[in-house]
Symmetry: none
Amino acid sequence: MFADNGYHDALVDEISKRTSMSKGGLYFHFPSKENLFFAVMDRLANKLVRRAEKAVDKAESPLEAAEAALEAVLTALSKQKRLARLLITQGYSMGNAFETKRAEVFDRFAKIIRDQLDEAQITGQIKKIDTDLASRVWLGAVNEIVVHWLFSGGQTPNDAAPDLKALLMNSVQGDISVKSNKGGSQ
Amino acid sequence: MFADNGYHDALVDEISKRTSMSKGGLYFHFPSKENLFFAVMDRLANKLVRRAEKAVDKAESPLEAAEAALEAVLTALSKQKRLARLLITQGYSMGNAFETKRAEVFDRFAKIIRDQLDEAQITGQIKKIDTDLASRVWLGAVNEIVVHWLFSGGQTPNDAAPDLKALLMNSVQGDISVKSNKGGSQ
Amino acid sequence: MFADNGYHDALVDEISKRTSMSKGGLYFHFPSKENLFFAVMDRLANKLVRRAEKAVDKAESPLEAAEAALEAVLTALSKQKRLARLLITQGYSMGNAFETKRAEVFDRFAKIIRDQLDEAQITGQIKKIDTDLASRVWLGAVNEIVVHWLFSGGQTPNDAAPDLKALLMNSVQGDISVKSNKGGSQ
Amino acid sequence: MFADNGYHDALVDEISKRTSMSKGGLYFHFPSKENLFFAVMDRLANKLVRRAEKAVDKAESPLEAAEAALEAVLTALSKQKRLARLLITQGYSMGNAFETKRAEVFDRFAKIIRDQLDEAQITGQIKKIDTDLASRVWLGAVNEIVVHWLFSGGQTPNDAAPDLKALLMNSVQGDISVKSNKGGSQ
DNA sequence: CATGAATGAGCATTCATTCAT
DNA sequence: GATGAATGAATGCTCATTCAT
């Protein structure tokens, strides 16, 4: 319901009805609607994080790991529009209190990517870049693709994945030294 | 007020007080609170779009133009936190009706970038990529940098601009060396 | 409604219905239910205080004035059970916030009596006593008579008035000096 | 908890916690919260009544007995603010159901005083008065002194006792000198 | 055109009481 | 007898919108 209606328009009454749990019961387990929303968000974020981590573990190089994590997230979100809506937009209607939570969740994903980029940098797979910034660029790109899919009905994140991965890989691999070398860009 | 409190928590009563316009007057000019918010958003988005377009006009190559548009937006948002908040997050609290508007505004910016990337592709400055997707990647990256700045108090978009531009340029495999011929993009 | 059901059980919804004023209208004029209750209480207390003061003004001696004030209050309360209930018991259900208001209202009546007793003392109509304490004794006595009438359905305060006045007059006139023969009463 | 928070704001959950008795257990022993409150009230009222009766028993004359009962009550309440609050004000928040109980408790105290005044009248210690009314006057005076102490932080009932007793004795026109003179009371 | 008092549907939260274990 | 999770009716307050003046 949070995913469908947004935080604000998901009524506790309705949640109570649809979960077959009395309102009192709901409030026995969750001190507030806000807390309930965060609990849902945590649970789903955890699942998605684990999926990304698993993809990372299976990969053979840091860069492949980052790519795999990306793919895992894109696939999961494509399959579950609701998950995407919940994690990406529907919390905002909560008001400013949501910002902290959003930051927390996004940080977790940013860290996964950043860690791989850091590793890739150490192993020389990519050049010296601001990996923190790069991880945010990746995340932002994914976020926007998902939002565009959700709001404007464009191609699914999964369909966009190949090109998206290419663009993001380029972003951290592009030989910026070129700037001065003037050689071919690839 | 929308920027500070979000759509939902910006009360019409309060808006009426702070604008020294009676509530009746407000409703005479705007059919609804939603409409008022969109009017504010349009006005500010227009300004920002014009700024980006002006930057594009001054640039000497499509790629420089895309970069300049990026820079213009980053600078404007960095200088006006409220503008950033309003355009980027505070509308969500309106509920699902916001999605369309958000898409509309983002599309305008995406178009500016995409047009330049298309041009750059034609002129061979960048290789063949999905420019629509790329424009979204750029936009998403900017969006995320801004949100991170707003929510977590990281570096301003303006400070992140140089590295960000490098990453995004790389993403489209632009041979930035062109730039070095002429010095910085500004 | 406050008088009949007590503060807590007087529902705002019901008040709205019975006053033919919308709930919003109610809250436009009174910031809270508590505030509304106090407003009602003030208005009624004012009326009753004025009545007591008028009685005082007409009297020819301080002691007669005190007696007249007493009588005025007893008569008014006897005629309006609701007034009695409201001022004397129904606020308590508000919780501890009521205490201050109760004290304020009772102090106003205590002052009227105390002023007359002070005057009477100066003019030698009564002996030297603690007039503040005496005023509270009077007030407490009236209060209890009223409560007993309200709760147990005994004689009306008005019917009890003659004997009550005699007792209270005695309380401040009796020749306590007698006690000094033996020292304190303990 | 009833004394501190009032009937309404003393939550059964909280009572359960602070008594280390489960809510189920509480409800096994007491059919309702109301019933529990009355049980507490009865127990404390009993104690106080016994204390008053003991004081009466020790006294040597009816009038002294009444005075002693008064003193016993004032002392007990002064020493235990909570007892005072419980018996005197905190029940009101229960709503109208409290009235009967309040009347019952006050009647017990009224009876103790009235019995002594009746006796004193028979033995000629005081002149002919409405002893029922007088007992209520006494009780009301005590009540008001206590409430004023509780709410406004005035002098303790105990400190007010000497003057209060004098005033109340005067009210029934008891010629206190009688205690030693033993002559005709008028 | 402007005003602002009035409207009333809407909603999160509370808490005495129950009852399966 | 004891437990405490579950119940759900109850309620104060909000706020976008209206409309008589």
